[in-house]
Structure formats: structure tokens, C-alpha cells
């Protein structure tokens, strides 16, 4: 039970921490394939850091749905990562 929970949590952690790296590596490889140098693989981390400190502009025609959705999206991805077999599949 506790072991299962630990596996699930570590999966979510890996997904949260490593997925920008995957995107970065993919972009680098794509760039190399078409002969560009492309950004370095760690670039998405820098992007995320920048986006986190930027000011959010919220349109005045939007409602609570607009404000809540990004959080719900991120949270549901994390919860999905708890269950999906990322690191290992449980019996």
C-alpha cells in the first residue's frame, strides 16, 4: 500500500521534472535533422522559469473558468501521472 503510493508519487515527480527535458531534447534533435543548431536541451526549463515570474494579464470578458483552468489542467496531468505506468507497471 505504502509502496504503491511511493511509486505513484515518484512517477508524478519524474513526469513533472523530466518532461521539459524530453521536449528540449526533441526540439534539439529536430533542429539538427534539418540542419539548424537549435536551442540547448535545457531551454524549456529557462522558459518555464521566465513564464513563472511574468505578469498574468486576464481579459475582463473572462470568468472564473478562465482563471481556474490552467491549475486544473496541470493538476489533472499530475494525477494522471500517478496512475499511468511511467517508471514501472504495478502487478
Amino acid at each position: 500500500m505504502i509502496e504503491d503510493a511511493l511509486i505513484a508519487l515518484s512517477q508524478a515527480l519524474v513526469v513533472a521534472l523530466a518532461s521539459p527535458l524530453l521536449v528540449g531534447v526533441l526540439r534539439t534533435i529536430k533542429a539538427r535533422l534539418v540542419g539548424r543548431r537549435g536551442p540547448r536541451p535545457l531551454q524549456p526549463y529557462a522558459d518555464i522559469r521566465k513564464l513563472f515570474v511574468k505578469e498574468a494579464v486576464i481579459s475582463s470578458t473572462t470568468s472564473w473558468v478562465f482563471r481556474v483552468t490552467p491549475y486544473v489542467l496541470a493538476a489533472s496531468m499530475l494525477v494522471a501521472a500517478l496512475a499511468a505506468p511511467v517508471l514501472m507497471s504495478r502487478p
Binding site: V57, I58, A74
Partner: protein, 636 residues
Amino acid sequence: MAALVYVATAVIGLLGAVAGVAGMLGHTWNARVAWVVPLGGLELVMDPMAGLFLALVGAAAVPASIYAIGYTAGARRGLIAYPAFVASMAAVPLAANVMTFAVAWELMSLASYFLVVDGARDPREGRATARAAWTYAVMTHAGLAAMLTGMLLLISWTGSATFADWRQAAPALAPSARGLAWLLLAAGFAVKAGVIPLHVWLPLAHPAAPSHVSALMSGVMIKLGIYGLLRASFDWLGTGPAWWGVTLLLAGAVSAVVGVLDALVERDLKRLLAFSSIENIGIILLGMGAALLFAGAGLPALAVFALVAALYHVVNHAAFKSLLFLGAGAVLHATGTRDMEAHGGLVKRMPWTGACFFLGSAAIAALPPLNGFVSEWLIFQALLQNTRILAPGLNVAFTLGIAALALTGGLAVACFVKAFGISFLAMPRSEAAARAHEAPPSMRAAMVALALACVALGLAPTAVVPALASVAASRLGGSPAVAFGDGLTLRLSGDFASLSTLTIALALAAALALVALAGAGRRRRWYETWGCGRLLQTSRMEYTATAFANPFTRIFDFFYRPVKRLDIDFHPESRFFVSRIEYGNPTRSIFDEWLYRPAGNALRATARHVQAIQSGSTNLYLIYILAALLVLLVFA
């Protein structure tokens, strides 16, 4: 006066719900009053299956009646038909002989017919409403005819009009006789349930009725069609052979996919919900068909499990579809139109309705941890167990069902993103929407109660499933041998699958808190949307319902068969000046064009031929009488 009637109906509903739950838990009884109904008398029997559906009728009637107090605002129309409708729906599952059943069934159809006729709010709507009510009357009586034929056949074969006697005598009947009776009964009940292709009345009649009646019709009345199918397939005739199950499974697959496809392109909010009811009936039929096939293959535990999944979806659909119809009614009440292209921005003007409709949409789109997810997950698990049946033909049918359910799930999400997004988000698309007002307290209370029911049914499947399992086991004979969970988790057939919506909900809450913490402390600014340099922003720049559905119209054009209509009026002086452009992109219904129109034409042609012997001349009719008399004298 009006409020009193609705409160009384709500009390009746509450009593019905309590009696129904007691019946589900095993407090069975029967009652017989010989003189009330002719030919056999009034005969009521409470068993677990009847209890479940009685509880459903009662539990849905309470919020609908409370809602009606605010919605009708004291109008006196429908004050007799509405309580009669609720009472007759409560009587249908209890009926124990043919006459009681037929009277209750017909009273339910007639009361709802009057409520549909009554639904028009102004003369402009009158014509459409009259057509809807007429279609409803024709279809429902065609169904009644099929159902009664089946029942009369069974009476003549078994020599009894009591359902309990059928149960005894049915296994001894010839397979072809049982099959014919089942086919007739199933056709009759399928009309009421709105199974495709017998569904044409449903998208016309449900939107035309007042919203609290629509909620009951979609939430409960069509479920009584399912109830009839359950009785016909599992009870009255014994458990049926494989072809019954395959028929139900395929009908379910077609209904689910076609229903959601039709819902997706609809711009009338209540019609969209009506089509979505057809979809959900299809999902329920998938579970029922699977249960029949498992029972036929000698797997009673799996049959119970599949039937539980279907019954769970019956309960869930009653909760969220009632909620959505009440929400749509609140929108109609506030804006005066059902056309989604004239809504928009309502979540700001109507925060309660908006929140409730949002929750209902999420539930019907089967998002965890709400109730729609639980039942669709259960039906998926049931269908996936088909590998235990060793018959390739049946496995193919199951696979089709699984594919249909998967496609339906995806399209339902798109459909309800559209329903909520276009109606409630962005800027108001019309004056009426800009001046919309929140619903009165009684309507809000009803919607909040149903929303809470959706959440509770989603979070506590471990409380609901055992009760439904005892209902299913009471009909299928098998004990619920599948392990139905311990505490928080629902475990199915050993280690095959398990689900705990409560854990999902807690994990979601924790993750939300974490993400919100990460995003806390950001600077925020409210500003108008950037309009690409344009100064003025109007609602005409918004995404429309038609535009949202357009990609689907193109992908599934073999089904929708869209027509392009472009109508341009040029200025009389020059072709370079356009004075008016009209563009339409309507879709066509396969069932209208290929089934009902030819059938209607054939009927009309036959009527014309029959007309020849009905000249209207009295002399001719006198000759007919003489001829008939002579024929009788000669042959008798």
C-alpha cells in the same frame, strides 16, 4: 394554488423514493384491489427491481417539482397533468399484471403528451410544439401497439395476465414464440427509451415540454422504457438467448454513437440534451446486452456485474440529465431562447446556474471523479471481460461495443464543451443574454441538490454498487460473486481492475493545492482582450456553436451529409455591391429521409387506395351492410 400542487407532488416523490429504497433493500410487498382496474384488477408488487425504479422516479420528482414552483411562477397550466404524470410513472414499475401496467403506461404517455402540448410559450412556438406533440403521440402509440401485441400473445400462450405466471410458464414456451414476444415487447419499450431508429419523437418532444417536465421525461420516463426492456429480457421471459443480447449490444452501440453525433451539431440547447439522452440510453443498452450475453454463456457473476454497470448508468443519467435540463430551463427562463447562438456570457450573470451546469456537463462527459465516469468505467470493464466468452462472433459484437463506447466518450466531451462554452462563456451574443438574470431560489435549490447528488454518486460508488448488485442478483439468480470493493476502493474480479474515486478526488485536490501554491504570488492584471489592433470588440467575433461543430461535420460527413446553401442578393445597379448574403450549412437526418419519409409515403398511398371503398355515399354503405350480412349468413 400552483405552488401547493407542486409541493404535494414533491412530497409524493419523497414518499415514493423512501418506499423504493426500502423495496431495493428487501422490504417487498404486494397489494391487490380487484375493483379499480378492469380485467384482473389493480395489482402491485414491490421487488428490488421495482424498488430501484420507483426510487428513481421519486428522487427525480422532488427537485423537478420544487424547481417548477419558481419556473412556472404560479401559472395554472399543467396542474392536473403534472401530478398525474409523476404518479403514473411511479405506478409503472410496481404493476404486476398486464392491465395495471398498460393503464399506468398509457396514463404516463398521455399525461406527458398534454404537458408537451402545453409547453409552447407563445403562438410562434405553437406550430412546432403541435408537430412535436403529434410525432410523440404517433410514435408512442405505435410502441404501445407493439408492446400490447406482445403481451396479448403471451396471455394467450400462458393463459394468464399476471407477470409472475409468465415467469413460471415462459421457459416452457417454444424458442420462436419467446423470440417473437421479446421482439414485440422490446420494440415497444425501445420506442419509449428512444433507441435508434425509434427515437425521432425524443428530440422533438423533450425540448418542447416545460423544463421541469423535460427533466423528468429525459431523466426518468425514458428509463421506464429501459425498465420494460429489463423485465422483458431478464424476468418475464426468463433470461434470453444470445441473439437478444447481441441485438441490445448493437442497438446500444448505434444509439450511443448516432445520439452523440446528432447532439454535437445541435444549436438548440434543449435539443442537444435530448440527443445526448439517446446517447446515454445507448450506453445503458451496451451494459444490458453484455449482461444478457454473460448470463447466456453461463457466467452469472459477470452478468450481475454488467447489469450493475448498466443500472449505475441509469441512476447517474437520471441525476445529471435532470440537472442539465433544469439548468437549460433556467437559461431559457432568463434569456427567453433555447438557441445557443443567442446565449453567451451567462456564467457571470447566472453564477449558480453556471456552476451547476458546469458540474453536470463534467459529469455527463465522464470526467473523474464524478458519477458519469464511474458508471462508464464499469461498463468498459464489463465489456472488456468478454474474453471469458469463447465465441468469436460474440467477441466481435463486444469489440464493436467497446469501440462505440470509446468514440462516444470522446465526442460527448466535445459536445458538452460546446454546450457549456458557447452558452455560458465569453461575451453575451444577444441583448437578452446581456440582460439575463439568475434563477429564483426554488430553481437554484433544485439544481444544487441534483449537483450534490452527482458528486455523491461519483464519490461513493462503494455504497451504491452493493445495493445495485443485490437488485441485479435478484433477477439473474446469481450471487454478486464479483468482489465489490472494501472501504474506499472498488475492486473488480480479483486484480483485473480497481477504482477509488475518493482517492482520485483527494489526489486532484492535493495536486491543485500544489499547483496553486506554485502559481501564487504572481502579479495579475485585468485588461481587455487584445483585439489585433481593432478597438471595438463585439460578440460577432466569437466562436459560434456551428463553427465549433464544423470540423466534426466534415469528418463525419457520410453521416451528417451537410448541404451548403449560399444565397446572395446583389445590388440592382451592380454585381460588385452585395446587399445581403445568407449562408446556411444544415445537416440532413438519415432516419427521416430513408426510413420515416418512405414509411409515411407508403402509409399515405395505402390510405388513398383504401379511400376508394369509402365514397361517403350512404347507399354504398347500406350495400356493404347487406353484403356483409349475406356473407355471414352463407358461411356461418
